[in-house]
């Protein structure tokens, strides 16, 4: 199958690599420049490869509320929330960002999961007034991120963000382009998703670059993701894992009532039956980790590396991994399973969730 290209394919430049079935820029300028922009200034990454579904119909939020972990039924136009579609065993189908955009409900999914989610929703649609359309290639999705991203939107972009709620949306004109601005933080790092037409995308992209926003490729984006402990589908999320292990407790409403998998998740929480935790790792300078490498203590494998990142300019090699609950404490050093060499120190927990919290 031919690889997908975003509306900005010719504009971003940089070294192109295949990922998620798309041709994506891996590195656009320099690794250190891109990393610095995202962590200290404002960066932009073309995330058009993430799935976008439009749910249309009176029962859209009601159905999503019955199928996922967060309370989304009361979202009024302009409001949004992250929520997890879970199986009846309480495992993660996907973490989706749901936004009420009045004429439709937007769902931002993990890359390549659009059809899985359409099929899942279809399976549980019996009498509901609901149509789901795949808009993934129909428009452009950018992720503006970094500590200065809010300031850029307000001061340079001229967007009034006063009315923007957490995970919500405001419609704005940026450089004469109509843009849906959605609050989309990257873990603790501020960030905003910009939804705009494919036709308008090149002009806005140029405007962003001309006003000092640094375009970043998938490599820097992934390093920043790992540093900020944001789980990714396939690495840290998917059916092997439940939301509590993945540190997604902030996307679970324990008082909203029934949804698929609710009993299992409530039981895991009440009886503290979570077996492992997603942690952030810092590797020793001599370490040779790879995703999937075992993490060892006293000769036993008690965890696995799931993602890796490399801080540019000789910085640390960092990662994320699942570690058995008894060993998941900040400061604990674990050896890498042979043939990998070196060790990893646990530096924190995914999101804000750790043992005992």
């Amino acid at each position: 199958m031919a690889l997908q290209r975003s509306a900005l394919h010719r504009l971003t430049g940089g070294a192109i690599a295949e990922r998620f079935g798309w041709e994506l820029p891996a590195l656009i300028s320099t690794a250190s420049g891109e990393y610095l922009a995202a962590t200290t200034g404002t960066a932009v990454h073309d995330i058009s490869y993430m799935g976008r579904l439009h749910a249309i119909g009176a029962d859209a939020l009601d159905l999503l509320n019955r199928l996922s972990t967060n309370k989304v039924i009361d979202l009024v136009p302009g409001e949004g929330a992250p929520t997890i579609l879970t199986t009846d065993q309480g495992r993660i189908l996907d973490l989706i960002h749901v936004v009420n955009l009045e004429d439709h409900i937007l769902m931002i999914t993990s890359p390549e999961l659009q059809q899985t989610i359409i099929d899942w929703l279809d399976k549980y649609t019996i009498m509901e007034d609901l149509e789901v359309e795949d808009h993934t290639t129909a428009d452009t999705l950018l992720h503006l991120l970094g500590p200065q991203s809010r300031q850029w939107l307000e001061q340079t972009g001229g967007v009034d963000l006063d009315g923007l709620s957490a995970y919500g949306a405001v419609y704005a004109q940026i450089a004469d382009t109509g843009v849906q601005v959605i609050d989309k933080p990257f873990g603790p790092l501020p960030g905003f998703a910009l939804v705009l037409s494919n036709q308008d995308a090149p002009a806005l992209w140029n405007n962003l670059v001309e006003t000092g926003v640094i375009p970043i490729g998938t490599e820097a984006y992934d390093t920043v993701r790992v540093e900020n402990a944001v789980p990714a589908y396939g690495n840290e999320m998917g059916q092997p894992y439940n939301p509590l292990e993945a540190g997604l407790i902030g996307s679970i409403d324990f008082a909203k009532g029934c949804y698929i998998g609710q009993e299992v998740i409530a039981r895991l929480d009440t009886y503290q039956k979570v077996q492992k935790h997603l942690v952030t790792l810092r590797f020793s300078p001599d370490a040779t980790p790879s995703p999937g490498a075992g993490l060892v203590q006293d000769g036993k494998v008690i965890g696995r590396v799931t993602s890796l990142g490399s801080i540019p300019d000789g910085g640390d090699t960092i990662g994320m991994g699942y570690v058995r609950k008894a060993f998941a404490s900040e400061g604990v050093t674990l050896e890498l399973e042979t043939p990998a060499e070196g060790s990893a120190e646990i530096t924190g927990f995914s999101q804000l969730f750790g043992p005992g919290v």
């Binding site: 649609t125 019996i126 509901e128």
Partner: protein, 118 residues
């Protein structure tokens, strides 16, 4: 489509006590005319599918309708597939008071009994 057993068409039935309670709630709400209960299935709930119950006087052309104990039990075509053979009962035991679905199609039921999977 009708699902039959030994030549008899199966539907959704209602126990005498459940029918009495439905009439009681309908009267309390000031409903007049032929009172019935609409039984349906929705996606969601702990086990994947969940029951939906509404006391109503509105019958639709496409409904499967059974009259029992002085009330009409109405089921839409899509829900019928999941509900065929189900009896609606009313429990007033110490373990919880309310309408209970006894559904032979349910392979798994959640703790509170409002959700099931087939």
């Amino acid at each position: 489509m009708a699902i039959t057993q030994n030549g008899v068409e199966l539907g959704v039935s209602v126990s005498e006590l459940a029918a009495k309670k439905i009439k009681y709630f309908a009267e309390k709400d000031g409903m007049v005319g032929d009172v019935g209960v609409r039984v349906a299935v929705k996606g969601g709930g702990c086990s994947g599918l969940t029951y939906d119950l509404a006391i109503t006087t509105e019958e639709r052309d496409t409904d499967k309708v059974v009259e029992q104990h002085g009330i009409k039990v109405m089921v839409d075509k899509k829900s019928y597939i999941f509900l065929v053979g189900t009896e609606l009962e009313f429990s007033d035991g110490l373990n919880g008071k309310g309408f209970v679905f006894v559904n032979p199609n349910a392979k798994k039921t959640c703790g509170c009994g409002t959700s099931f999977s087939v």
